[in-house]
């Protein structure tokens, strides 16, 4: 079934949380630094791909159902569109939260070089999270499905 060595499995299991945390960091700082929902999501999904390689697609497919991933993907996309709909009273995609100090992500950052304020950007960080959810679920589903589809009978992944 699955003949990767114990070393690979252990190292992958240790690495996975770090990869995930780094990906989430990239998603979270999307409005301040290069990166964002897609890039961070791709990092997290590559961590998931690491697990698929180390433990075999069958073992992963037992834990994670592909239909759940597609629901998660839909939730991400719906979140993104709903966030865009919030500003419809002004225009579609209008950033209602930005520039309102006191509201969530509402801080107006000072113009010029600054250390970066996570609490700014209005709807953008939320949209980054929605996109990140969609990308994690989507890319993980792609990796998982391709791994299952290309599996030889009786061989490893």
């Amino acid at each position: 079934m699955n003949d990767t060595s114990k070393i690979i499995k252990t190292i992958s299991a240790i690495m996975f949380p770090f990869v995930t945390i780094y990906g989430l960091y990239v998603i979270m700082h999307g409005h301040l630094t290069p990166g964002g929902g897609f890039q961070g999501g791709a990092i997290v999904a590559s961590g998931c791909a690491l697990l698929v390689v180390a433990f075999g697609s069958e073992a992963i497919a037992k834990k994670v159902k592909e239909s759940d991933l597609s629901i998660l993907e839909s939730v991400g996309a719906l979140g993104f569109i709903s966030l865009a709909f919030i500003g419809i009273a002004t225009t579609f995609f209008y950033n209602v939260l930005a520039g309102r100090s006191g509201s969530l992500f509402g801080k107006i950052p000072p113009f010029g070089s600054n250390p970066g304020y996570l609490n700014s950007g209005g709807l953008l960080p939320l949209m980054n999270f929605a996109v990140g959810t969609k990308v994690i679920a989507g890319l993980f589903a792609i990796v998982l499905i391709l791994a299952i589809a290309t599996r030889k009978k009786g061989g490893r992944t």
Binding site: F38, A42, S113, N114, L146, A149
Partner: protein, 119 residues
């Protein structure tokens, strides 16, 4: 001259990719060719966005005494490239999934055999 090197690389990448698409028989290699063309186009967009002495508009890490916004570049080509990469990932995944399924039905990845539809 030195600023033209990226564009020469773009030309070369696109030609290599087109060669792979036209001359190779394996479907996977054709898909790789399209990926190479896509990298060429992305490199073209990024090279377009280069301005000498320009800085990326990331406020958290600017050097002291930067003129704002005079020294910063408008990151539109970079945004275009990112969007194009995202689309490229989706297209690549779709093509590879189709290749897997085609192998199941035709028992081959040779593009000369995958032509039941002709005339």
């Amino acid at each position: 001259m030195i600023y033209n090197i990226p564009y020469i690389a773009v030309m070369l990448l696109i030609l290599v990719g087109l060669y792979a698409v036209i001359a190779k028989r394996n479907i996977i290699k054709i898909i790789m060719g399209i990926s190479i063309i896509e990298s060429g186009v992305n490199l073209f967009l990024v090279a377009l966005g280069y301005r000498e002495g320009g800085l990326a508009p990331i406020f958290t890490n600017l050097p002291e005494k930067t003129q704002i916004p005079g020294q910063l570049v408008l990151p539109v080509p970079q945004a275009l490239t990112l969007t194009s990469i995202v689309i490229g990932v989706a297209v690549l995944a779709l093509m590879l999934a189709l290749a897997v399924q085609i192998y199941k039905h035709y028992k081959t990845l040779d593009v000369r055999s995958v032509r039941r539809l002709k005339e």
